[in-house]
């Protein structure tokens, strides 16, 4: 820009100003001036006339203030502006002749600073104009009442549209999580908050307005790249959306004259989190407080926590955990567990979402890879190869594949926590409707289990929990009478043992009555007498269909509803169930499930030329009996004396019609297998080894074949059938009747 052009600009702004009517600058004129001043600033900077750019910037700021209605003394402002223009003209003219040296400028700038509150040379701070809160609120209240009285339909519209918008936010935020850099995504979340805020301000819904405003400013930072999209930001926005939804729901309740649902959201805490997040801080607010964790776990009451918190306020260097221990409210162990929980909350595990089908495919393929790898390894060509390097490579390959398999199966593992949380909720609901007071204690929430298993075990566990609340835990009066606290406790505990996950559900209720169960069983004809029955055996009767469905059983055992259903479900999952109880003190159900349905740990046994897999969990022992331990008992057939007990012998070769190597038990191998109604002995030729195999289901038409639960590809590439002990026993009992059984069918 030439000097002449600059001079023209200043002259035109001066003449425009001269022709202004009634001493006031309206908005369009102000806009024109601002643009002219911008051009002057650019020109002055280009020509390095500092005084000029400084004055022009000052005038610009003054105009902005005027536009924003922040100038109180309009007359002075007007005069100052006029003077500023004159000074600009003077500076410009004199700059051609060796520069303008005027004390005038500093004097003028001072009066300008008085008006606009800050020196214009400083770079603009930009951003939000602070509006004083108090008068604002007042006018809001006024306004709100007006709108509320005058237009209820507006409110109704807002509720509908607002909720729609929030749903939109939820959808968009998931997109944002996958594509954090997407500005369109940010905008599409920003806008609904903005709109909600706008309308809420008209409808005088101050809480909604404030929260929407906070969320909007947070997103604004994201939009301006001042903040990156992290999991925490996403969480906060989702929580915020939830809170807004709940608040709008309350407005609706109020409007429809219903009782407002209580707001379970800690608004100040949420606002605090948003504020922290805006500064890029999360940790302070993210992890739960130790006290809160302890209360949640039911170790202390909220009142106790409050009391101790008061104490720690007086002595700031004592931590809450220490205070609670000192008061004897909790044990140090419990505090350290809570601390560990708190730590695990802070550790932020980044994760991605994957379609489970893809995951299943991957795991399947890896299973195949493992098998192929072991086939290669066992091939005669490889075995006869003496090259050392080749040998090393092969073992390297097999260790990598087995590591791969381990990792792949762990992909599908998820902590049981969620299931426990659902259970806790169930207990709360059930106990409330039953008028009982029940505490839930969980242990081992991080124990992992196959995702597919989680859904499968849910129903049996629900049954157990339901029974524990309905029939286990007594009513408060009864408990007091029995000398127990009014509040019952249900404990859920999970841990790994062997290849299984064990889930214990115990209650401190009235426990099972052995006598009553036994009487019932005898009346029912299930057993003849109590002779030879262990406590366990007696408790197990409640799992039988005949006993549990009878209405009376509720009175008898306190365990009524469909325990046989639980049993069936557990069986289907190759799980086990064990019952321990003390009359008057409570009952514990220990259920054990395989970690996954995809893999089974089995013994490979050989009969003739066939190989079978016996689930290791079912095997009690392996033995080769002496000849004298083998007997035939009339009515029971062949038996083997195992540690003094006579167990029936089941000949696999008979069941499957194979020609075995040996028919005499003392020459063959006996596998003692556990079944529901006692153990039995399987006669096989040889044990080949133990292997983890990937289960391949049988096709639909073969699903009901008794004695076989599936197949697997063995290490040598051959197929082995997985034996199902229960089914085998049934099969053997059918065959035990000889020709009779066949004729019946």
């Amino acid at each position: 820009m030439s000097h002449d052009q600059l001079m023209n600009l200043i002259d035109s702004i001066a003449s425009d100003f001269l022709f202004l009517e009634d001493q006031d600058v309206d908005i369009p004129t102000a806009g024109k001036f601002l643009n002219q001043l911008d051009a002057i600033i650019r020109g002055a900077e280009a020509l390095k006339i500092e005084h000029l750019s400084c004055v022009a910037r000052g005038l610009s700021r003054l105009l902005e203030k005027k536009i924003l209605d922040e100038v109180k003394d309009t007359e002075t402002a007007f005069a100052t502006f006029e003077k500023g223009i004159t000074i600009m003209q003077e500076i410009d003219r004199s700059s051609g002749k060796g520069g303008y040296q005027g004390a005038d400028i500093s004097g003028f700038m001072e009066s300008l600073v008085c008006l606009i509150g800050a020196a214009p040379v400083l770079e603009a701070q930009g951003g939000m104009v602070e509006t004083s809160a108090a008068p604002d609120n007042e006018s809001n209240v006024e306004l709100e009442n007006k709108v509320e009285i005058q237009d209820e339909s507006l409110l109704r519209d807002f509720i509908v549209e607002g909720l729609e918008y929030i749903n939109e936010i939820e959808v968009n935020i998931l997109n944002l999580e996958q594509d954090p850099g997407n500005k369109d995504c940010v905008n599409s979340i920003f806008r609904p908050f903005h709109s909600i805020k706008g309308v809420a301000s008209f409808l005088n819904l101050e809480n909604i307005r404030a929260l929407a405003h906070d969320l909007e400013s947070l997103l604004d930072k994201v939009r301006n790249n001042e903040l990156s999209v992290t999991a925490q930001v996403i969480d906060i926005i989702l929580d915020g959306a939830d809170a807004l939804k709940a608040m709008i729901g309350r407005v609706r309740d109020r409007m429809e004259g219903r009782a407002e649902a209580t707001l379970e959201i800690d608004l100040p805490a949420l606002e605090q989190r948003i504020r922290f997040a805006q500064q890029g801080k999360y940790e302070q607010s993210e992890p739960k407080k130790i006290g809160a964790i302890l209360v949640e776990d039911g170790l202390i009451s909220e009142d106790a926590l409050e009391a101790s918190l008061e104490l720690t306020k007086k002595a700031p260097d004592i931590k809450i955990g220490e205070a609670l221990i000192a008061e004897g409210k909790v044990t140090p162990r419990q505090v350290s567990q809570a601390l560990r929980k708190q730590m695990s909350q802070v550790v932020d595990v980044t994760s991605i979402r994957v379609d489970t089908r893809k995951l299943d495919d991957l795991i399947d393929m890896i299973g195949e890879l493992v098998i192929t790898q072991s086939m290669v390894r066992q091939s005669p060509i490889v075995l006869s190869n003496m090259d050392r390097k080749f040998f090393r490579d092969i073992s390297q390959l097999s260790s990598i594949t087995s590591e791969l398999q381990r990792t792949s199966t762990s992909l599908r593992m998820i902590p049981i926590k969620q299931t426990f949380q659902r259970m806790s909720r169930l207990v709360r609901d059930l106990s409330r409707s039953a008028g009982k007071s029940v505490n839930v204690v969980t242990e081992g929430e991080d124990t992992e289990i196959d995702r597919n298993m989680v859904e499968e075990i849910y129903n049996p566990l629900v049954h157990l929990i339901r029974n524990a609340v309905d029939h286990g835990i007594e009513a408060p009066e009864e408990r007091t009478k029995a000398g127990k606290g009014e509040t019952g406790t249900i404990q859920m505990k999970a841990y790994h043992k062997g290849g299984n996950i064990l889930i214990e559900i115990s209650d401190d209720g009235k426990g099972l009555s052995k006598e009553k169960i036994l009487n019932k069983a005898i009346n029912n004809g299930t057993v003849a007498s109590a002779a030879g029955l262990s406590d366990q055996d007696i408790y197990r009767f409640i799992l039988l269909p005949g006993l549990s469905t009878a209405e009376k059983i509720t009175d008898v055992s306190g365990r009524g509803v469909g325990m046989d259903v639980v049993k069936q479900a557990v069986d289907k999952l190759r799980g086990k169930i064990e019952i321990n109880s003390r009359y008057g003190f409570g009952t514990t159900f220990v259920t054990s499930f395989p970690l996954t349905l995809a893999i089974i740990d089995g013994m490979i046994v050989r009969v003739g030329r066939e190989k079978y897999i016996v689930p290791t969990t079912a095997i009690r022992r392996l033995l080769r009996p002496n000849k004298e331990y083998y007997n035939t008992v009339i009515g029971r057939g062949e038996v083997i004396n195992v540690m003094g007990k006579l167990l029936p012998l089941v000949r696999l070769h008979d069941l499957f019609d194979i020609e075995p190597d040996c028919r005499n038990p003392w020459e063959a191998t006996i596998v003692v297998v556990d079944g529901e109604n006692g153990a039995k002995c399987l006669l096989v030729d040889e044990i080949l080894g133990q292997e983890e195999v990937v289960i391949k289901g049988l096709s639909e038409s073969l699903r009901h074949v008794k004695g076989v639960s599936g197949g697997a590809i063995l290490g040598d590439g051959n197929i082995g059938l997985i034996l199902d002990p229960e089914g085998l026993f049934e099969l053997s009992e059918l065959q035990g009747f000889g020709g009779n059984g066949e004729k019946k069918n």
């Binding site: 908005i27 806009g31 306004l143 007006k146 806008r191 706008g198």
Partner: protein
């Protein structure tokens, strides 16, 4: 009745409830001839196809924002002098200054009353005369 009250006002906002709010406030100020658009693109089409006397537009909208609409209006040969009132939330200073530089007739900050809205409209119409 005041002739100026007969002008046709276009209210642009993506939030239907907000449009209704403004419509109600306009009615309170005596303006009856009101039409609506849910974003800048729709508004621009309406401005070109029908005779509109006055635009009240929100800032933040999908597809075409208020400031984009304003710029499009100002750079249009026929619509160039269209009275344009911008609605903003809070005085976001940068936004307001940007709008003023782009030639907005005036701006109004949410929430506002019928009186303030009426005054702003009167002022804009007065300046045009």
């Amino acid at each position: 009745m005041d002739v100026s009250k007969k002008i046709k006002i276009l209210v642009v906002d993506d939030f239907a409830t907000m449009r209704k709010v403004i419509r109600n406030l306009l009615k309170q100020s005596g303006y009856e001839n009101i039409t609506e658009a849910e974003d800048g693109v729709v508004a621009m089409n309406m401005l070109k196809s029908t005779k509109i006397d006055f635009v009240i537009s929100d800032w933040n909208m999908p597809n075409m924002t208020g400031i984009e609409l304003l710029k499009a209006v100002r750079s249009d040969n026929e619509l160039g002098s269209m009275p344009f009132l911008m609605v903003t939330a809070e005085s976001l200073k940068d936004n307001v200054v940007e709008a003023v530089k782009a030639g907005v007739s005036n701006y109004i900050v949410k929430p506002f009353t019928a009186e303030v809205l009426g005054e702003k409209i009167d002022k804009i119409l007065e300046n045009i005369k």
